[in-house]
Amino acid sequence: MITASGITKTYKQRGNLLGARAVPALRGVDFAIERGGAVTFIGESGCGKTTLGRIVAGLETYDGGDIVIDGTPMSSLKPRHREPFFRRIQLIHQDPYSALNPTRTIHQTLAAPLALRAKQTGRDKAWMEERARELLALVGIDPGYVLPRYPHQLSGGMRQRVVIARALTVDPEVLVADESVSMIDVSLRLGVLALLKDLRERLNVSVLFITHDIATARYIGGDGELYVIYRGQVVESGPTESVISGPIHPYTQSLLSAIPVLHGVERPGPERVVPTEALNEAHPDTGCLFARRCPFRTDRCEAAAPALVSDGDQRHACYHPQRRDVIPVEAVA
């Protein structure tokens, strides 16, 4: 069980004569991941979702707030004592083409973390060989074919499965999947998503899914929690299906409205919301961060920032909450 509260992160940009500019990436984010559960972060590029994933995986520091893993707050530990905690959380990179060392065979790639694991658990080399084959079979590829090969000899889908197998070598409890299928061919994407879903069920690992594609979130984490992140802030969260079918925050509504409609199979949702202008990071930080783009804004929105409040099983940060019907509906044939 992992809980994060009030995570903030500010990147400092190299400054000019007037001094360094601070770029807030995360402005106080709370979330919880349960064992075997699924959590999805969704948002546009630059919203901070990738930074959040890296923080959860222990690959990035944070400025404020805390992460508590199984009751132990990370802030109470020295960095080197945090390592065993964060090892239980493994990141699956976005780009399977650059995540594997091109000069190492898949066998070598898997052997390194497995050797570490064998040492920790007092097992021998035969176990390592056995385990490598077992893991590759688990992710749905033929070990005999893949083990002696180099990454360039494999397709994108296969590489992504190897990356997942490598993450599994240390028996993680959480897999952080950051846009894991965006670079894979369409017909193969669902296969990798199905694998992640399957791992959740078979190994009881939790999946933290980071994506800009809400429909894939529904496939993997339909029973989990969805967090909609905008400019470093959670603007809406709740059970995935509830947020998708009844989004409350105008930003969530805009995201869902932007998803292409499969004309011929679907009809557009009746209340689609289109932002009034494009994303501009330079917009002022006072008031609601989305106000400038929001078709429903009032003076109040620009004056003070709304807090995240509960509304049924959803939470939202909006002064004018209203559920809208924006997602495409199945067209009746």
């Binding site: 546009e44 590029s45 397709s155 889908g157 061919d185 369409v186 017909s187 193969l188 994407r189 669902l190 296969g191 998503l193 199905a194 800009h212 594609d213 809400i214 429909a215 894939t216 529904r218 496939y219 339909g222 998708i244 079918s245 805009s254 995201l255 869902l256 409205s257 932007a258 998803i259 292409p260 409609v261 499969l262 004309h263 011929g264 199979v265 679907e266 289109v274 932002p275 494009a278 994303l279 997602i327 495409p328 509906v329 199945e330 067209a331 044939a333």
Partner: protein
């Protein structure tokens, strides 16, 4: 701006080969496809399906080691593009056929402002009235929701991805081309930006009376903007027809599988199914028989030996032995 009528395009038996150590391999194996004047056609396919090669052929711009081996690409007002060479070809590109390249957001010159690049374009096409060209460009950018004057004075790093993409579209349209090809126009853009760009593509298409071709791997993008949809696989067009019909009642098993593989926002999510197997690459496209048979649930004996001819019936074209005839699959297979 003068309005000429939108051109029609007829591609016939187009074969494009790439030279590799293993000999010349076909990226396009005898493709035929017509774009009706004034329509938006989408080409959907996975990597290696030949969709970008087909688009480049419309400009006769297939780069070595590739070459157009045979076939005809007829564009109204231009004739057979395959036969054009040198200066004639250079003039046709840009003037008659506008092209928005894949990753157009990264294809601007970082050392020159957008305006300077526009003037270069005008000069290379012997425009006498450069101020008018700038004026048109400003109007087009304004049409797409940008401050034209500011954008023309900007370097590429001063523009966001969505803005650069719109600049790419402006470059494709500013010479008043009436055939516009967009290769993956929204890849790497955010959802909301994508929706905005697609709306612009659709609006500009109608306002200027264009014939538009959109290349994409994303069925949703094609569904959103196109009138007519061609599905490519292994260097062939396996299905082509009106978009809503192709999506609503797909006939080719690949099209069916592809649509089923898209996770959707409503309905039972577990209906989504992955396609078994993987798409062929240049080296693994079967030399004979149907290119899709390895992944096909309807495979019959003839698929192993004969490449199915595209057959057109009620404006729908399908290249499949098992579709539209009574046949018992000899290898019954279910998507798993």
């Amino acid at each position: 701006m003068t309005r000429t009528s939108a051109p029609g395009v007829r591609v016939k038996d187009l074969t494009v080969v790439y030279k590799t150590p293993a000999g010349e391999l076909p990226a396009l194996g005898g493709v035929s496809l017509s774009l009706a004047p004034g329509t938006i056609t989408g080409i959907v396919g996975e990597s290696g399906s030949g969709k970008s090669t087909l688009a480049l052929s419309l400009l006769n711009a297939v780069q070595p080691p590739g070459r157009i081996k045979e076939g005809v690409v007829e564009i109204d007002g231009l004739g057979d593009v395959v036969k054009l060479t040198g200066e004639e070809l250079r003039r046709a590109r840009g003037r008659q056929v506008g092209y928005v390249f894949q990753a157009a957001q990264n294809s601007l010159n970082p050392l020159k402002t957008v305006g300077k690049q526009l003037l270069d374009l005008g000069r290379s096409h012997d425009f006498d009235d450069l101020p008018a060209l700038l004026k048109d460009a400003r109007a087009l950018l304004g049409r797409m929701g940008l401050d034209g004057g500011r954008v023309l004075d900007s370097y590429q790093h001063e523009l966001s991805g969505g803005m650069r993409q719109r600049v790419g579209i402006m470059f494709a349209l500013v010479l008043n081309a009436h055939l516009v090809v967009l290769d993956e126009p929204t890849t790497a853009l955010d959802m909301i930006t994508q929706a905005a760009i697609l709306k612009i593509v659709r609006d500009v298409h109608h306002e200027r009376g264009l014939t538009t071709l959109i290349i994409t791997h994303d069925m949703g993008v094609a569904a959103e903007v196109t009138d007519s949809l061609a599905v490519m696989y292994g260097g062939r067009v396996v299905e082509h027809g009106p978009t809503t019909e192709v999506l609503g009642s797909p006939r080719h098993p690949y099209t069916k599988g592809l649509i089923r593989a898209i996770p959707r926002l409503s309905g039972d999510i577990d209906e989504a199914r992955a396609l078994p197997g993987r798409p062929p690459t240049l080296g693994t496209i079967p030399k004979q028989g149907c290119v899709f048979r390895e992944r096909c649930p309807l495979r019959i004996a003839v698929c192993d030996t004969v490449d199915p001819e595209p057959i057109t019936r009620d404006a729908r074209t399908v290249a499949c032995h098992a579709v539209g005839r009574l046949a018992t699959p000899v290898v019954p297979k279910e998507y798993v």
